[in-house]
Subunit: 360 residues, 2 copies
């Protein structure tokens, strides 16, 4: 059996060339005679991998010299509390509640300070993104936190929020990191679970300003202190070596494709194909405000729960996997991360047209 | 180039049959058309994997119905603080300081209560293990914590500490879990990083008594609450799917070998070969008390730092990798976890004999 079309929201499809490379390296990596998951994380062999991943991510994101790239455990969810635990410390922070994970970040942050939820689209099922003019950040706010792409509802920020001087900008980029040009240097704190645009699950990328380290709570267990992870170069304990290894391949692949701009153009073309199909038909309806549509997670519906179920089930039977909407919202969702390929996007569009013809 | 002999202390060698299986499944797992790291952690495909891993680990460890198996993030080090944060809560706990990681566990625990270090072999470079008669547990002690095998110094508990009624028994089994019969049902809390005896790095196995959940601090961020991980079946957020997948293969492999007893017998035979060689020669010296010797991490020295360095460097050049002692203690170390094979152990012994002949 061949590989099928994979629209999973994460863990998600990888480029086939990377899967082939990983197969080889599992057995014998770089002719060392050791498999990539069987060598010490402190070996020269792995050192080369993690250093390359760090340098490449720093460069592809456009970070500056004050920013440090870390590969940590725990998923993005661990950052929901680790970030405010370190950097809020009883102060005030502003959060934009644009989705299920943004809400989770608010819940955890409330333990560590005074949280201003400046905007929430929860009542309309997180179907929209605020404009800059929809919210104002109070003076004395330590940071603004937002989720740049909302995997569940299928919305995305198409601008970077502005923050006043003295307020830090923190962003959960889990589901759209490196999918578009973002100018990493404009952020004070970035985090992202790997399992969408970067590689397999098991690693969370954190980019923190070194100038923020002195502001972190020094009275925390070692594993929860960013300063220790920076000082130990993400090696305070054994990191998830396989995930970091694949991330390095993915970053190399982005460069080989022509860089973030080329990947972004392809992502836009993929999303446009599907959204154009949705907008050009009365059968399909997009689930979000048009100006908030995500390039990564495209949510749509036939307007009929039973028909939606028939769609994703039939699709799965015909080799298009992962099109069921998130269990909390229903409907349909196609995830088109960086590694998504033209053939699968075309197959999806063809299948949607056929389905409409048969059911419409 | 063929695969070489791998004595890494972790991440460590896997059985070649498992590496071969993982190579296939990376591309197309169980004929689903999806690679094992590219499918959703909530898919039926992965559900089968994690459920099997859970059931097999529960059974191979000899756990009882009150015990729940979790696959968490963060390495064993995260348990150093998560355990006392949840279950100490200002009370008193006893710790046995038998090594570098035991000491790390003490440091974190001191934030959450009154820690009695009942025994420490730090002054003699953690070269020994206390007898039961060497320490007494005070009444009112919430739990005893110990590290069943000490990866750095190369010592191991060859008995299970007894605790008085009302005191829980907690164990960091990172480096010897399932290497020998241990009767999991006698423990109240077990944890182990996967990357030694169980699979690749990225997952920490936690086994907690369900009857302890009501005693856990309920006022913690969600990711730090054992109760939530139990309720969500290790799926509160995206787990490290690759690592759990390989763990499942390793557990299946242990059963296929004939179970823990067969694996233990082989581990004992491997260790005996090397220790007999050390004891039968004036050239080599074991680094620990004889009755405390680990079956997993065998530490030894020529007694001469420069010669030790020549040994592991020459060995590495000749295809025996990972024999350098931990950077904090120097000397030599051979790690012989479950997946270690007869051929590599024999190659090590032959190389040691040759080296002695040439240098001695």
């Amino acid at each position: 059996m061949n590989r099928i079309h994979n629209f999973s929201a994460g863990p998600a499809v990888l480029p086939e060339s990377i899967v082939r490379q990983a197969q080889k390296d599992l057995y014998n990596h770089e002719n060392t005679g050791l498999g990539i998951v069987e060598c010490s994380h402190r070996s020269a062999q792995f050192d080369t991998v993690i250093n390359s991943a760090k340098t490449r991510l720093h460069s592809l994101l456009g970070c500056d010299d004050d920013q440090e790239v870390l590969f940590l455990h725990g998923g993005a969810r661990t950052q929901f509390y680790m970030l405010p635990m370190n950097l809020l410390r009883g102060g005030k922070a502003a959060y934009l509640d644009t989705g299920k994970w943004a809400e989770g970040a608010v819940e955890d942050a409330q333990r560590y300070g005074d949280i201003d939820v400046l905007f929430s689209s929860k009542e309309t099922h997180w179907d929209r993104i605020p404009r800059q003019s929809d919210y104002a950040i109070e003076k004395g706010t330590r940071y603004l936190h937002y989720t740049s792409n909302n995997t569940v509802s299928g919305t995305e920020f198409h601008y970077r929020p502005e923050v006043p001087d003295g307020t830090w900008l923190m962003c959960d980029m889990s589901s759209n990191i490196l999918s578009r040009r973002m100018d990493g240097s404009k952020f004070d704190f970035i985090y992202a679970g790997a399992q969408k645009n970067l590689g397999p699950s098991g690693t969370t990328v954190v980019i923190i300003r070194k100038s923020l380290l002195a502001q972190c709570d020094p009275n925390l267990p070692a594993m929860l202190r960013y300063g220790i992870h920076v000082a130990k170069d993400s090696m305070y304990n054994t990191p998830c070596t396989f995930s970091i290894y694949v991330i390095e391949l993915m970053l190399r692949w982005i460069t080989d494709q022509g860089g973030v701009d080329v990947v972004e153009a392809r992502n836009r073309a993929h999303a446009r194909k599907v959204y154009d199909l949705i907008d050009g038909s009365d059968f399909w309806t997009g689930k979000t405000a048009i100006d908030a549509r995500s390039l990564m997670n495209l949510t749509f519906t036939t307007g009929n729960d039973r028909l939606d179920t028939t769609f994703w089930q039939t699709a799965a039977n015909e080799g298009l996997s992962g099109l069921k909407g998130h269990r909390s919202v229903g409907g349909l969702r196609a995830s088109l991360y960086n590694a998504q390929n033209d053939v699968s996007v075309d197959a999806l569009c063809a299948f949607m047209r056929d389905f409409e013809r048969q059911q419409g």
